[in-house]
Symmetry: D2
Subunit: 339 residues, 4 copies
């Protein structure tokens, strides 16, 4: 739609889409609204729409992912989590422990994240664990502690939903619901996320191609939730100097194919505390819209993943350095744009 398209014009386009037996998707943007079409079995004639008032252009999307594609919506999507924009000019930093362990631990973590310059708080109340005998998270208690941390610090909450059954509960407390790497192709969970009104943080699967990653996001958009944040968290390879191989090249690659924002998880992506800072800087330099990082008030006492968690001072340093790089690149980019 044109930048100045009126809502009646948007409505009329949607009506025509519906009349043709298809499903319209209104994807709002900062400048312009895009309207995606799904439900068609063959190509749709652009001429059907091009003459309608308010329509700027009707484009046939060449990719298997439709709504996620930059062809459908050339402008970057900015997702707001508890008021914090992700995908815009400023990077976003989400920190917190792997698991919510106690009320005190998560409150203390939130203070550390806030003090260090983070805008969002992460922490798992439901944990997908390789072993059935490992600590599986505090469940609703964990969610309540997270909410208390938000109340105190004002930080938005990002926490994982591991199944359809507990999704509603998570959704009630969270400002952004995470779908973990192991669930990237749990299609029922993706559909459930698509029916949610909360933003979704979708992590790339351990051996997911970029196309599969975008198709997973497409599941969420196809069911009506256009607020999806992609997250690279390392893939599985033969390399053994890190727990996973952080594939930063997926950042510019996703950005060129999709309008969705993409952030990076350097904690799971490396699995080693001393690699988190350099890879965080690298992620921001590669153009990521933010980071989700494990921070723990006392990493050595963490119930899970302590060896990859930063301590408060390390997190503050990381936040400062990342902001500095981001600002530098933004300033240079503006200069280039002006030239």
């Amino acid at each position: 739609m044109k930048a100045q398209a009126r809502s009646e014009e948007i409505e009329r386009v949607c009506e025509r889409i519906t009349a043709l037996g298809f499903k319209p998707h209104i994807i709002p943007g900062e400048q312009r609204t895009a309207i995606g079409i799904t439900g068609n079995s063959g190509p749709v004639d652009p001429a059907e729409f091009e003459d309608m008032p308010g329509v700027a252009e009707a484009i046939r999307v060449s990719k298997a992912y439709k709504l996620v594609s930059r062809e459908t919506k050339p402008e970057n999507t900015i997702v707001r989590v508890n008021g914090v924009p992700i995908g815009g000019e400023e990077i976003v930093l989400c920190g917190g422990p792997c698991s919510v362990e106690t009320r005190e631990q998560i409150l203390e973590s939130a203070r550390v994240v806030k003090a260090g310059g983070g805008q969002l708080l992460r922490g798992g109340a439901y944990k997908p664990r390789t072993s059935p005998y490992s600590f599986q998270g505090l469940g609703e208690d964990g969610l309540r502690y997270l909410a208390a941390a938000r109340d105190e610090t004002g930080l938005g909450i990002v926490t994982e939903a591991i199944d359809v059954e507990t999704f509603e509960l998570v959704e009630r407390y969270a400002d952004c619901v995470q779908i973990g790497a192991r669930n990237m192709q749990n299609f029922s969970l993706l559909r459930r996320a698509g029916r949610s009104r909360k933003p979704i943080l979708l992590k790339r699967g351990m051996s997911s191609t970029l196309e599969e990653f975008l198709m997973a996001a497409e599941y969420i958009l196809a069911d009506g939730n256009y607020n999806v944040i992609l997250c690279e968290r390392g893939v599985r390879t033969f390399a053994d100097h890190t727990r996973n191989t952080l594939d930063l090249s997926v950042v510019p690659a996703a950005q060129s194919l999709s309008h969705l924002p993409i952030i990076v998880d350097p904690s799971h992506g490396t699995g080693k505390r001393d690699k988190v800072l350099p890879m965080s800087l690298a992620a921001i330099a590669a153009g990521a819209s933010g980071l989700i990082v494990e921070v723990h008030p006392a990493p050595d006492k963490a119930l899970s993943d302590g060896y990859q968690s930063l301590d408060p001072e390390q997190f503050a340093e990381l936040a400062d350095d990342c902001r500095a790089i981001s600002e530098l690149l933004r300033a240079r980019h503006r200069m280039t744009a002006v030239r």
Copy 2:
């Protein structure tokens, strides 16, 4: 327990386990019953049980997977699907189309599988698909057609459950419920499978280590379902001459660590029809307890995966050749045993 242990003796062991605050798992075997213990946070003293009547041995399991481990149960587990034993002397052949498409197609497939020498029928009524816009399966109609095929041919049915919501429906119709590769670490689904009374066919994830594979099975056993069949279906690597890289070495590796039977899916494992026969023979020669193979009455007309489906004649040849190799190895093994 000793081979001749009486049921009261088994009961008494379970009572003592319960009394200690742990959970007993009675895993029945062809010769002897094994009793696994879970729920303990630290090591349990074997002396607690060694003097009890009927107890042969109390072993501390060294692996993270307890119930799945051959330490817990040295004897092979034989899982019966619609009366067909899997994991015993004879190999089992499960054939059928990727998806149930029509009643006629699945009936015809069942006849082809039966005629070719197969004992079980596969076919998906719920399909996990990379794209939200692809054919997602016929749902309960598909299950009904499968049941009709069983009624006509007597073949047991193996079909996939893709989420907790539809599990009960699938379970009602299926003789064996499949958990697909993408769901291997969908822990809620594994727990649901653990509460089922139907045997479970658990496929290895695309980038799953053997330990993760066995831990996934452990989730099912830990919730009380000891009838799990493992299935290798290829892993994701750089190699591009096949769709996945079929890792047959996992067959003897799983057999040495676990008592559970393991079969192979050469159709997804290679993704190419002309590789299915040689890799099926290889799987049987490597010691697999059976195969799950895509067969279609008319592969070129299949709605999904037709390029990797065998035609009726190819399936019959495969079945004959696999049986011949299996018999040969069994005969030689008996000779060796006698010597």
Copy 3:
């Protein structure tokens, strides 16, 4: 060329190829001779040759590998090593230690291989080692001991050349010169092998695609040595239950694209003694033309790779079982051919 083509006819075709500024390659076959053309920068008109006497067909090869392609030579190539045909009806078994350690050790190994039913003896005199401080092989002494073992047992010798400098020495003693996985793209070494009159055993690189593997073989053929045996020895993946992931699907894949024989190395391919037997059986069932297996008179005392070497009894069992499978499949195949 036609099956009954006379040598003058072959010569005349080569003359015309040379006259056009290209290079002719006479690749002899059991039934027919194929003549490959290289050195052309663009396509060559088949009509140039189709009317010449003795010519059966002139084919434009569609692949990047020309001489290696089955399009150039539809018939299987049979490579003879010390009189033993590789690529024909019967499988070939090559056994021996990782490294030649002492004269006695290699003589004893040769006796074990001979007694167990092997036809060729392997053993490294020059060893490519990850560490500069590891045992690098006995050099020419090792070659002499191998020759002594051949003198005593009549077994042909397969041993590795690790560089151009020592190639000539290795070539003088060996019946078949091995190019190891790490050298699969050592193009100078491949060219040197192409100028050798000895058959070459070319191992697949650790992360080589099938196309790269065949292109490496093409280097050898392009320089005039048409006696190349391919060898799968496992590729590098994330999987950690074996040292490498043995990719048996490359056997039928290579056979469909190339006329060269392919064998399998289950010792390096798995890195674990108890996986060698099942994967050997699987390799033969998948259609491999033979095996190269590590055998040591006393595996536990081996200087290198002892944990993956078979003892004499295990090798004899492997040889018997593999022959039985091979004969079974051959018999069945003959039946099918007759039908």
Copy 4:
């Protein structure tokens, strides 16, 4: 040795090492000289050396790689190529085409690199090519053109040696000899590089672990050449959005284990022009000591790898941005050090 150790003291330590039957390695540093010991089959008693004048400390190296290890030499090694220090405070930028094609092309490339702010010129005169029929480089003519470019611009030359035979020729012209990824475990070539007096740029193999990478460098140091620059250039994985997966985490990982400098090749590492800039920034942010980048005066006319080559303007932008990030991080680091 102590910072102020005199050369006689160093000599005396070396004499004692030799007297013990071992080999001394004098590895000069900016502040202090380290002396490595190889040739010992078991542990050496530190007490042998600790009391000698000038000795600061005698350390038992715990890793398989000895001379390369940071245990042997805690201080960063700075390698000088044509006077340009690599591994120090300032990043180094090496640019140029994949292959030297003509005298004019390489002269023009050198001007572009110089003008854009690069310090070193890359370009292959000998090319390792997957196909024997591809352009294999201009050979000595190419080397001569490179030398002419150095004469004109003053840029040092980095060019690849692909075998022992041509090493001497390459060494005569080059300021730094590159060992390519395919040759990372060509041990004869590594040994030859160890006997060279020119710095060596060692690229990581396509499926090399960090340990194997460092062991390959150890081969070079063990033969007496301590001027080795490591280079990450992407590894082979399942991911298909880039040609290789650039593993930037190896930068901090190598730096923590070894004193050798490490740079990054984002051109081969991604294989796509539009990924080169973001991944270059990421590499510098991760702490790499420099970049080796493909630049071509007219990328679309390049004989090889044009699709991943930058044009002159892109290179200049990359150089500026990388320097800015490097300076920013250096300034921040100084601040942190002062605090």
